[in-house]
Point group: C2
Chain length 293, copies 2
């Protein structure tokens, strides 16, 4: 079977160009630019890279961006004060607090202090609840990115059986909420996890499989029916002596053997990954429109 | 096959007696009683009955209860003020606003004004989100009642396939969230609805079917595998000339033909229905314990 690769990198580039075009039209119309603020505490290498990429994406989309830095010894009170300030600032459309935070700070408390109208990461309980209830809300980046990929590749979801592997707060659970609702996926949704007794059977009858369990090469060819669509959310670092870095990113799907059975499949890297920052930009634009228009 | 009837009425009575015992022990220990407040606007017959039954349940559980009445012409502002007052009152553990409200009042705005710590109906977005994220929260009465019935009848759920028919905000969606999480159902969860292409096949492979679509006699014997557990959430009023009232409550399950195939099944009425007010009492007790202990 000839499968089609879902190119997340190209799709993300297209969407960012579309956002940029929309923003420049707004600016030409006399409006201000959307403004995303990122709070970064300390100097963790991974966090530095993530935040840098978010700032670069803002530039690519024509957004204003502000990076607020704190040293490791910032207090919870100082952060809460900054969150309260950003919640109320008229020139800020959305903001994110880059995780992880130092151990002396309660991440959940910081998260819950963010006003849902500016919670472009979509991680606050009120946003999660609003999404579940079908109210205006911000859908977190990974599930939103996956749904967008399915839509952009014209892969039907309504009435289709979507099997989600994993029930994490950042992928599995919101993905299920998104795919079951009429205005989004409108799918028959199945959530499987480590305790599921019939996981293989469920996968075999799926039209779409979304693998998000963080177990390299977990999904094998014998679990996929011919013609299925497979979305791989796994990004486990696996030691690899042939790479300069000493590791490679490995998905949850045994790509080489699964791909030939699929109609569509995402690669790792270059599939779901590049969509996440792009969806953060989309959410920021939506937050801006909600406030300005 | 000999099926066992799941007796919601008896289970609810047992739980209310257990709550009463726990409350009297607290009172004997010098503590105050849990206190539930109900707000009732207007004189809708259905609402009057519901609220009356809630007040009676409070009495049965040894709770203090207060009924606050407003006429139909109450303003949204007055209700919002009352909600804000109840949010802050130290002697109130939980409160409910009986729906429906008159058309000039935005039900969603009233709902969202309720502090989650006192939202014993579990309908506010923040509570829905907290439940989804596995944070301390109040689970709404119907899903909680169903899980409680399964637990009290020692029906295994971990790793089992639970098919939920319907994706409403008050049953299907929260039920899915509850059943998929490790600390509650820990099940493989399938959500089917009117657009599902393989609904019959999904039901046929289910260990537990939870029918909540509001279509009388929808689930027939040919959709149920021998030995399954069937929970019927449907309560559609169907004209019935043989009844004094002129109607009867009809479930989503064609009971006569489905029951003989089941290991466990809930009747309608007397199954899930009686559990809902009981779970409201349970939530009120939990709210009290969260505040007092």
């Amino acid at each position: 079977m000839t499968f089609q690769l879902i190119d997340g990198k190209a799709t993300a580039a297209t969407i960012k160009a579309e956002i940029k075009q929309q923003v420049e039209a707004l600016v030409a119309d006399g409006k201000r630019r959307p403004h995303l603020v990122a709070i970064l505490v300390g100097h963790d290498g991974g966090s530095e890279t993530y935040v840098k990429n978010k700032v670069l994406a803002c530039e690519a989309c024509g957004f204003q961006s502000t990076l607020i830095r704190y040293e490791e010894d910032v207090t919870e009170g100082e952060l809460l004060e900054k969150v309260a300030e950003l919640n109320h600032r008229d020139d800020v459309d959305g903001f994110i607090v880059q995780l992880p935070l130092p151990k002396h700070i309660d991440e959940q408390r910081i998260n819950e202090a963010i006003a849902w109208q500016k919670d472009v990461d979509g991680f606050t309980p009120i946003n999660v609840g609003r999404m579940s209830l079908g109210l205006p809300s911000f859908v977190s980046a990974t599930p939103k990115g996956i749904l967008t990929l399915l839509q952009r590749y014209d892969i039907p979801t309504s009435g289709q059986k979507v099997v989600i592997l994993g029930r994490s707060n950042i992928v599995g659970k919101p993905m299920a909420q998104l795919m079951m609702q009429k205005q989004w996926g409108d799918s028959t949704v199945v959530v499987c996890h480590s305790h599921s007794k019939q996981l293989r059977e469920e996968c075999l009858s799926a039209d779409i499989i979304i693998a998000a369990i963080g177990r390299p090469d977990f999904l094998t060819a014998d679990m996929v029916r011919p013609g299925a669509t497979v979305i791989d959310v796994g990004t486990t670092r696996v030691p690899d002596a042939t790479r300069k870095t000493g590791f490679r990113l490995n998905g949850d799907v045994k790509f080489d053997e699964v791909a030939p059975k699929c109609s569509y499949i995402t690669p790792v890297p270059g599939g779901v990954g590049p969509m996440t920052i792009c969806m953060l930009m989309q959410n920021t634009l939506e937050a801006y429109i909600m406030r300005e228009v």
